[in-house]
Structure formats: structure tokens, C-alpha cells
Symmetry: C2
Subunit: 683 residues, 2 copies
């Protein structure tokens, strides 16, 4: 077994030998040189193994403790908070426990007149060695370069987060969106994610700029801190990650709408935050004055945002579509292993494709996950479904806890922290105000158009649930080259710690304090006492106005749903209605190619799958009430409903709806969603 | 979107600007420099994504074609052979299709007097950049360094194979050893793996040395080629990998003994080959004459072999034991996700632990897999068992096909091939003779002691099944710095291609030509017509001599089985017999700690699990026949068998045996294994 001390002595010996001019013979000296280089490489490899082992130990401890907590029903500390604590402990041990090394690896200085090349060839006594560019280091830190081998080894290249760790997490989030409630609240979710994040970013950015100015005034600022840096901080810190809260919601079966809003918002705002931070970084004003507003650069940034977002969206959607087509037209489902492997590869390829084209892989992977869940999932065999779910679940679990452990570790292993009390306090205040400005005004405006108002207690819970996590950390650690970025990173780390431990720990008490119902059966929603029921049943001006509002708010979605149900799903999955009926006759050949025999067999199966998707919300049913009733003219090739019994005479979207609504002669009035036909009197 | 051409023009522009002394201002020039470096980094990142995408495309094509082949029952081309073909095609495209780049990345030469450092600091006009040592390159290839970006990007560091790709493959092999037949043929497998590989290595090495001498004679040899290089080649090429053959055996349900022999041999000889090649590399004779036999160095190499092998074995076994204990004493099985994640982490940690201690991770992972399958598997919940199996199965599948695709690619992307016809032809002859010298003599000696002789057709099949694959390739590509190693690598590649495509494709015809039975039900073995049955039933000198031989040949195994069944399994799993009964009374406290309540409940369950393990071979039953009958005295705390009905009065190993033997009043004579009690007359 090699020890660091021994190899260092050996190298020292070598140096001495060379210095004193002793040569034991050409071959043996070059052999010794080779051995020396090999030993260094071995040593480096061994340190790599030890550092990875450290993380495995952390993860193992975390798993065992999670089990213990679940066993004892401990809810104040979630697995992510736990992983951070263990990371902290190990960080302390590494920082103050491991010996610092210096001396033998004193870097060699070599001057170059030109720009740095990616590859360097170094001539050492006739032998050539190849070096690759690692990165720039600031002059003040040169002596730190080889300070502590162990700390360096456990410090990963930030791109590891974006290329290896975040994709499984984000994909799993997209793949497991509870579709029904997600789409029911789609408008609100989109509003919170896009508008809300932009608002939050802007407000936090400006508040922090004020804080920075204050710091400059009291002489606390050692280096430049631009307005764009503040905005970047705003974007980075706006990425919420309420893992803890959602886990508790899941466990206690808290209100499903609230869950959908929080989950949907957190998933989408991660995507928005990444692209926003990229566009802010891309904001390169020409000229010296970076404080002046450069309209060209601003619109270029907006263009970058839209371009990257839509490009990544397209990548993700395209891969989802391709996978769906492949799984539809091959009999791969007979071979679960092949099917699962293919599914995994195609999802991974989204990421690489997006990165290769200059878009953002993580965002693409999110939309790929959503598309896969929506289309491809239906084509997989039963075994492949569970296999792929389990595969992504375990990858997600490991990656997430790895990142949180690393966060804890980074507090001690990261060598360029800059903690500034004013900045930190200012940041906490800013995120509080930013969250408030994000949630309350938006909720007010959304409530003007929503059926189920977002109550005050929901808004307070959402306000409270602004935890920061993996995404904020990854975005902050991405670039820590300058003073301002290092300060932002250190502050982000503290914010994550505080929100995950303190806020996360306070979730359960908060739930009871705000009287948010738990123990909800997702399939029973909405509860019969919901006012939608009353409105539906009544006649009069209120219901009419209600009807009109509901129709408007759901128009976009209604459009999407018809398109998806009648065209996309039949093309990409084995579900009906058969394209041969819905496409115009000129596309008959195409329709026949794309329609598989299973369509006709799978009508039964379809209902169950789609019931996840078909909303049970009052307003949408009302809308569909409209569609159904005026079906004779408006729905193209839909066959007219002639009787309740002859199912074959109805269009399949109507059948889908009816089945999902559980229509039967006996189940007409119990739920708000069942009032399609009685509405004939209203329309 | 960035194009390589554009970024190159930009850089050229930069260089021109610098050269002409134009400066647009301190900040903007350094900004441009930053942009230039960033663009290079982006470009590099994009190329990385494209190269990975290439592999994903290869794997996807392979999967789809595999499905097609399975669908059409094509057996002449296995998935690994297919992956290689696709790799070849893509390799051709990359080699002759992608533009070579040169010029802008002309490496910078910098002289150093001393030895190469791991880190280099380069001063570029006041900014410092950090470079890391990549490796040594031979002077003749300097101009090739930046020849073709794309080819470089798809050429991985050889350590990727040993650190990322091989572990899942080897672990899965260990985890899925069909225990019953493996242990039934354990002695032969060990002989083939250890002795056989050593013999093969030695013979091939010497034959190749003759070939090399011949080449030198006819002037075909351009550089040095030592005896140790030939031996290394022998070790590398002795690692067989009959994936294709085994897959076909599996599909056709060919003879289980043959399957066990081949599979077991291939799995263990991979381990032996790695360690053997490491010890050959470690053979560093002192003095100038490397052709002379240096006894010290030789014994040092032997020591290295034994040390690494046993060290890796211990690591693997220890991790298996620890995982078994953890899964036994926690209720993790209530949480399949946690259990699977833990199982995965602990198995991975074996690898890192072994690497950190200077042993061989791959070998450790093999023994870890075997230990996990033997102990930990019994402690997992039903869902975790399938989850972990599926997880490792998909990892194995992806890694294996990735390596084989890479092999195909490497024929065109590897830039240092040296094809020498004499060497290649000599190598083919050498491996043929080496395999023959490996199989036939050993089989002869083994047959002297075996119950089921290894028939001639089995021996021919084993001779035929000497396919080379992933391990030989990985070992060969590990070090391609010198002329001899490059020639060895190129030859190994060709050997792999030939054996996988031609030999692999000829498996099915060979099976029928050799009249090897297929369609065998593994649970029916041994067939009733086997002569063991006859020997058992008969009396007389033959059976007695047979008895004595069988007892001797199984003594070691019998010892192991008792130890394992009575002590190891009860400690590490929930199986009986309870330690409270088997351990002496002084260890009572320890026994009580280690015995879980499930032991008493799980007696039923135990039988099924152990039936995989408990041999149904005549000789072992006879041995146990002895044990059972003389149980009163010889088996320590075993309770005497009083009647067939009162199960509680028997020791659990007897119960285990009886249950597995399907003892009941009605099933006494039908199988060779059922003759325990009638033997009372013989003993």
C-alpha cells in the first residue's frame, strides 16, 4: 500500500538525485521518472477513490438515518436536511482533520505571450508531457493551489451538477407530475413560475443593489459588485425547491391543489431560473458604463431567454415524441429490459442534444419528462413502467441526497467563502419580501379568474414554503471566480441551510396553524361542499357570470385538450379516437399508417389512463358540457350523441368524458362533475 | 448556435489583433480574452456532448436491432457482435467523414529541467491559468496531438473502463452465478480459472516470444519487444468472455453443467487475468538484462499476485458481510427504495475501497457480488430483490454494449494502431494452442476426480467457446504508450472481432454438431439415466470405491457447506439453525444478539432459498447420508433423528436437506438423491 509520505520522500529523493547530478544509467533514470509519474498518478487516483468513498459514506449514513426517522415518524427533519448535516460534519473533519500538503507540488511558472491554449506540451529533459487547461486562478490564491489535497479532491467541478446530478432530479420531477391536479391549476402554475419568478428576481435584485450600495457606504465592500450581479443573485435565489414541504404534504396527504401549485411552481421555476440566469449573464452592454440601461443588450437578453427556453422545450418535446413513436410501433414491450434501457437512453439523449445545440439540457430534460409521462408511459408494458419508474426514482434519490450532502460539505471545503453580515441579513429580508411580492399580488389577480379561489391560508403556506435547495446552490456555485460571485455563493448556502432546516422543520406545525386539511383522498376531490357544486346547481345571474368566466379561463386549455386528445395521443400512443376517423380523408393513408390495431381494443384501457388527465373540475366540465351539447356542429367529425346506451354512436372524446365522469343512469347528481346532461336545460 | 468555424475565426481575429498591437482598452481586451477562453470551453463542452450522443445513438440502434433479432429469432449474431458492427460503421464515418483541425491549437512548447509536475501555472500577460498533467506522448506523435478534435473526443481515458464500465458488468456476473451448478462444479471451475489461465498465459507468452524473434529475424520489428511484453499479452488475451455463447446456452437451455463450467470459468478468469497482468507489469528486474530470470523479482510478482487477489477478495467479502448485517438488523425492507439505494451504494463502495487500498476494484466487486447473492439477497424484501436485480441488469446491459460499441469504434478512432501480419497470425495460432493446452490436459486430470466426467463433446465445446471480449480489450487498451503495447492492442482488437463474430456465430451449429443436449430443465438435473443413480442403488466394491472417491472429492466443500450453513448464514441472514443452538454456551450472549426472531418463523422460507444451494448431486447426498446417519455423534449439537414425523427433533441442517430432498413417505426411490435412509442398510 502506498502512503503519501512515502511517495513524497521518493520524489524528494529523485529531485536530490537529479540536483546532485547522479545518474544510474539512462534507462533506469527514465524508469525512475516513469515510476515517479506513475506513483503520482496512482496517488491521485487513490485520493479520488477516497473522496468518492466519503460521499458514499455520507449517503449511507443518510439512508440509515432516514429509515430510523421513518420508523419513528420524525417529521421535523427531512432527508435533505439530514444529508446536509452529515455533510457539515464530514466537512469539519476534512477541513480541520486532514493535513495540508505543500512544497512538492509547487507550481511551475512559465510565461506565455499570447492567450492560453487548451493543450500545452511540456518538454522535460527530452520527454514530452501533455497538459490540459483547467481554468483561471486569481493571483491572490496561487499559493493555495496545492494547499490541501483532500479538500481539492472533494471539490467538484460545478459542471458536474448540471451534467450529472441535476438531470435525474429534474427528469424525475417532470416524470412524476400528478397530471390531473397539475393541469387543473395550469394557468396559476405558469403564472407563478414565469411572472412570479421574474418579479421575485427583479425585486430581490433591486433590494440587494440597495444593500450593496449601503455596504459600499460603510466601507464593507472590498471589490466591484455590479447591478447585473445583483440581478443574477435575484435569479439564482428565486429558484425554490420545497422538497421538504412536498414530502410532508405527500406523507400527510395534504390538500392536492396546494400540492399541485407548489410542486408545479417549483419544477417550472427551476427551469425559468436557469434560463433567466443565463440571459442575465449574457447581458453584455457595450461601452464602459455598466450601470446605464442598454436597450439593445436588454432585448438581446430577452431574446436569449426566449430562444433558450423554447429551444429546450422543443428538444424535450421532440425526444418525448420520438420515444413515444418508437415504443408504439415496435413490439419492444415484450422485452422489458430493452424497453427500459431504450427509455433511459432516449431521455438522456435529450440532455446531450440540448447541450450540443447550445440550449439548456436541464430544461429540456424537464419537458422530456413531462412528455414521456404523458405519451410514452402509455405505450410501455406494465413491467417496463415499474422498471423505469424505479430506475429514475433511485437515480433521483441518490442524486438529490448527494447534492445536499455536498452542500453541507461545501460550507467547509469551499476555500473562497466571503461572509458579509450586512449582505446576508439584507438577502434574508430581500427573499422574504420578494416571496411576498411574488405570491400575494399574483394570487389576487389569479383569483379574479379562478374557480377555486386560492384562499389566504394557501397563500400563507405558499409564502412559507419558499425553501431553496439544489437548483439555487448549483446556479450559485457555477461561477465563483469573482468577489461578488463568491459572496453570493456563501450567502446562498446559508439561505439554503436556514430554509431547509428551520422553515422545513416548521412545516407540520404550520400546516395545523393554517388549518390546511390533510388526509385528503386525491380521487375524491373536489369535496362535495365546494361551492362549485352549488353554483352549478343553481340558475341565475351568478351562475351565468360564473359560466362565462369559467369558459374564458379554460378556453386555452380546452383547445389544447381537444387537440391532444384527438390528434396527438392517437398519433403517439395506442389510444383512440382512431386517426382514421378524426383526420380528413385526404390524410387517409397517413392515418392508416399511424393507427395501430390496438386502438380498437384499447378503448377500455384508455379510459383508465386518461382519467388521470381528464379534469374533474367544475368549470371544465361545464365547458365540456357545452362541447357535448353543441357537438352536432362544432366538433367536426364527431358523431352526434343519439342515446345514452349506444356507446358506439358517440365520438370517443365524449365517451372518454362520460366514462370518466362515471356516467350511468344511477350516478348523476353526487358530484359537481356529473351535471353534463342536466345542463341541457340551462344551455 | 456556435459553429466551430466561427469560433476559430474569432480566435484568429483575436490573435491578429494582439499581433498588430491593437488594444481597445484594458477591460475589453481582457473581456475578449475571457470570451475567447469561454468559447473554447463551450466548444469543448459541446463536442463532449456530441461524442456522448454518438454513443447513445449506437446503443439505441443496437437495442432496436436486438429487438428485431429476437423477434425473428436470429441467433448467429449476438447483441455484442451487433454493437461492434455499429461501432465500426460509426468509426468509419468519424474517421473519414469529420474534418481534421490543425493550426490554431498548435501546442506551446515550454522547457522544464526537472520532472513533470501534476499542476502547471502558466502566466499569460499577467493572468494565471492552471493546467493539469494529462500524460506522456511520444515524440513521433506530437504533430498528431490536435489532429482531429472529434476523434479525440470519442477516445476515452482507458481508466474509464476500469472505473465505470467494467464494475457493473463484473458485479452482475458475480450476482447472477447460478449457485447450485456453480458450487457443484466448483473445483473444476477453480482449476480452469487459476491453473488454466496461468497455463494459457505462459504458453501464449512463450509462443509469441518465438513469433517476435521470428519477426526480428525477418526485419519486421521496428522497436523493442521484451519477454515480459509477451507474457503480458498472454495474460491479457487469456481473459475469455463467452458472452455470446452463454446467451445462446441460456436461450436454448443447454446443458447446465457446461453452462456452469463456462460461466464460472469466464467470470473467475477475468479476475485472474487482471491480477496476473498487474503482477507481470510489477515484475521489475534489477540490472540491465531483462531477459535473465530474476528470482527476486519473480517471487515479488507472485507475492503481488497473491496479495492483490486475496486483498480484493477480502474487500469484496467484507462489504458483502457488512451489507448483509445491515439489511438483517434494520427494518429497511419496509422501504424498498432505501434498501435498493443502500445495496447499490455498498456494492459501489467495495470498488472504491479496494482502489483506495491499492487492490483491484473489479476483482473486489466480483466477490462482493457473489457474497451479496449468497447472503444479502436473502435479507432483502421481495420488492427490493427485483428492484436491485433490475437495476444491476440494466446497468450491466448498457455498460456491456457500450464497451462493445467502443471496440468497434476503436478500430478507426484509435490513432496508434500497429498491424503486423506475422504477429497477428502468430497470435491466432497461439491462442488456439493455448486454449487447447488449457482445456484438454486439465479436463483429463479433473475427470480423474469428478463424478460427472467432462465428456469429450463438452471439452470440445469449451475449447470452441474461448471468445475474447470486454476484459481482454480493457486490459489491452490500458497502456498503449509503447510500440509493443500498441501492436498488442491492435492484435487483441482483431482477435476479439474474429472470435465474437465468427466463433460466436458458429455456436448454434456447433452445439448440434457436438450433440450437446438443449432444452434442459435446470431443476430436473441430474437426469435419471445418470450413472450416479445406478451406483447408489447397487452394493459392492464399485459403489464403495465410488463412495470413497466421492467423499474425498467433496471433503473441502462439505467442510465449507457445514461452516456456511451452521454459522455464516445464521449470522448474516435470518436463516437457521439458530446460533443459540449451534454456538457453544460461552458465546450465548453473542448468539442471542445475532439471532433474530425471524429465524424461528423462517424455517419454511429457508428451504426454498437454500434449495438453490443444496446440491442434488449424488456424491454430496451420500456424504450427507453419512452425516445424517452418524449424526448422533459427529454433528455436535445436532439432535438425533428420532422419527420422520417429528421435525422439531431434528437439527435444521438435516431438516434443510430432507426438505430439499422432498422427503416424505412417498418419495423415496425416484431420484438418486433420495436414498438417504435406505442407505442405513449400507453404512
Amino acid at each position: 500500500m502506498q502512503l503519501p509520505v512515502r511517495s513524497r520522500l521518493l520524489l524528494l529523493l529523485l529531485l536530490l538525485l537529479r540536483a546532485s547530478g547522479l545518474r544510474a544509467g539512462e534507462r533506469s533514470s527514465s524508469a525512475m521518472e516513469e515510476i515517479a509519474t506513475e506513483k503520482e498518478a496512482e496517488e491521485s487516483h487513490r485520493q479520488d477513490s477516497v473522496s468518492l468513498l466519503t460521499f458514499i459514506l455520507l449517503l449511507t449514513l443518510t439512508i440509515l438515518t432516514i429509515w430510523l426517522f421513518k420508523h419513528r415518524r420524525v417529521r421535523f427533519l427531512h432527508e435533505t436536511g439530514l444529508a446536509m448535516i452529515y455533510g457539515l460534519i464530514v466537512g469539519v473533519i476534512l477541513r480541520y482533520g486532514s493535513p495540508s500538503s505543500s512544497g512538492h507540488d509547487k507550481p511551475f511558472s512559465c510565461s506565455q505571450e499570447d492567450r492560453p491554449f487548451t493543450t500545452l506540451l511540456v518538454n522535460v529533459s527530452g520527454k514530452f508531457f501533455e497538459y490540459t487547461l483547467k481554468g483561471e486562478i486569481s493571483p491572490g490564491k496561487i499559493h493555495n493551489v496545492e494547499q490541501n489535497d483532500m479538500l481539492r479532491k472533494v471539490t467538484f467541478d460545478p459542471e458536474v451538477f448540471f451534467n450529472i446530478l441535476l438531470p435525474p432530479i429534474i427528469f424525475h420531477a417532470g416524470y412524476s407530475l400528478k397530471k390531473r391536479h397539475f393541469f387543473r391549476n395550469l394557468g396559476s402554475i405558469l403564472a407563478y413560475a414565469f411572472l412570479g419568478t421574474a418579479v421575485s428576481c427583479f425585486i430581490i435584485g433591486n433590494l440587494m443593489y440597495g444593500v450593496v450600495k449601503l455596504m459600499k457606504l460603510v466601507g464593507q465592500l472590498s471589490d466591484k459588485f455590479y447591478y447585473t450581479d445583483c440581478l443574477l443573485f435575484g435569479a439564482v435565489i428565486s429558484a425554490t425547491d420545497p422538497v421538504t414541504v412536498l414530502a410532508i404534504f405527500n406523507e400527510l396527504h395534504a390538500d392536492v391543489d396546494l400540492y399541485a401549485l407548489l410542486f408545479g411552481e417549483s419544477v417550472l421555476n427551476d427551469a425559468v431560473a436557469i434560463v433567466l440566469s443565463s440571459s442575465i449573464v449574457a447581458y453584455q452592454p457595450t461601452g464602459e458604463n455598466t450601470h446605464a440601461f442598454d436597450a439593445t443588450a436588454f432585448f438581446k437578453s430577452v431574446g436569449v431567454f426566449l430562444g433558450i427556453f423554447s429551444g429546450s422545450f422543443m428538444m424535450g418535446a421532440v425526444t418525448g415524441v420520438v420515444t413515444a413513436l418508437v415504443t408504439k410501433f415496435t413490439k419492444l414491450h415484450c422485452f422489458p429490459l430493452l424497453e427500459t434501457a431504450l427509455f433511459f437512453l432516449m431521455s438522456w439523449s435529450t440532455f446531450l442534444l440540448a447541450e450540443a445545440c447550445g440550449f439548456t439540457g436541464v430544461v429540456a430534460v424537464l419537458f422530456c419528462g413531462i412528455a414521456q409521462a404523458h405519451y410514452t408511459y402509455n405505450n410501455l408494458s406494465v413491467e417496463s413502467r415499474s422498471r423505469s419508474k424505479q430506475l429514475f426514482e433511485v437515480l433521483h434519490f441518490l442524486a438529490e441526497n448527494f447534492i445536499f450532502s455536498y452542500m453541507g460539505l461545501a460550507l467547509f471545503t469551499f476555500q473562497k467563502h466571503i461572509f458579509s453580515p450586512i449582505f446576508i441579513i439584507g438577502a434574508f429580508i430581500a427573499i422574504f419580501l420578494g416571496r411576498a411580492a411574488h405570491i400575494y399580488p399574483l394570487s389576487f389577480f389569479l383569483n379574479l379568474g379562478r374557480r377555486h379561489k386560492i384562499n389566504w391560508n394557501f397563500q400563507h403556506m405558499m409564502m412559507f414554503s419558499g425553501l431553496r435547495g439544489a437548483m439555487a446552490f448549483a446556479l450559485a456555485i457555477r461561477d465563483t471566480a469573482t468577489y461578488s460571485h463568491q459572496m453570493m455563493f456563501s450567502t446562498t448556502l446559508l439561505i439554503v441551510f436556514f430554509t431547509v432546516w428551520i422553515i422545513g422543520g416548521g412545516t407540520t406545525p404550520m400546516l395545523s396553524w393554517l388549518n390546511i386539511r390533510v388526509g385528503v383522498d386525491p380521487d375524491q376531490d373536489p369535496p362535495p361542499s365546494n361551492d362549485s357544486f352549488q353554483v352549478l346547481q343553481g340558475d341565475g345571474p351568478d351562475s351565468e357570470r360564473g359560466n362565462r368566466t369559467k369558459q374564458e379561463s379554460a378556453w386555452l386549455f380546452r383547445l389544447w385538450y381537444s387537440f391532444d386528445h384527438n390528434y396527438l395521443k392517437p398519433i403517439l400512443t395506442h389510444s383512440g379516437p382512431p386517426l382514421t376517423t378524426t383526420l380528413p380523408s385526404c390524410c387517409g393513408l397517413l392515418a392508416r399508417c399511424l393507427t395501430t390495431p390496438q386502438v380498437y381494443d384499447n378503448q377500455e384501457q384508455l379510459r383508465e389512463e386518461d382519467s388521470d388527465f381528464i379534469l374533474n373540475d367544475g368549470d371544465l366540465t361545464l365547458t365540456y358540457g357545452d362541447t357535448t351539447i353543441t357537438a352536432n356542429g362544432s366538433s367536426g367529425s364527431c358523431t352526434a350523441p343519439t342515446s345514452l346506451d349506444g356507446r358506439k354512436t358517440k365520438s370517443s372524446s365524449e365517451e372518454a368524458l362520460e366514462h370518466d365522469l362515471g356516467m350511468g343512469d344511477n350516478e348523476v347528481t353526487s358530484r359537481g362533475t356529473r351535471l353534463v346532461f342536466p345542463l341541457e336545460d340551462n344551455a
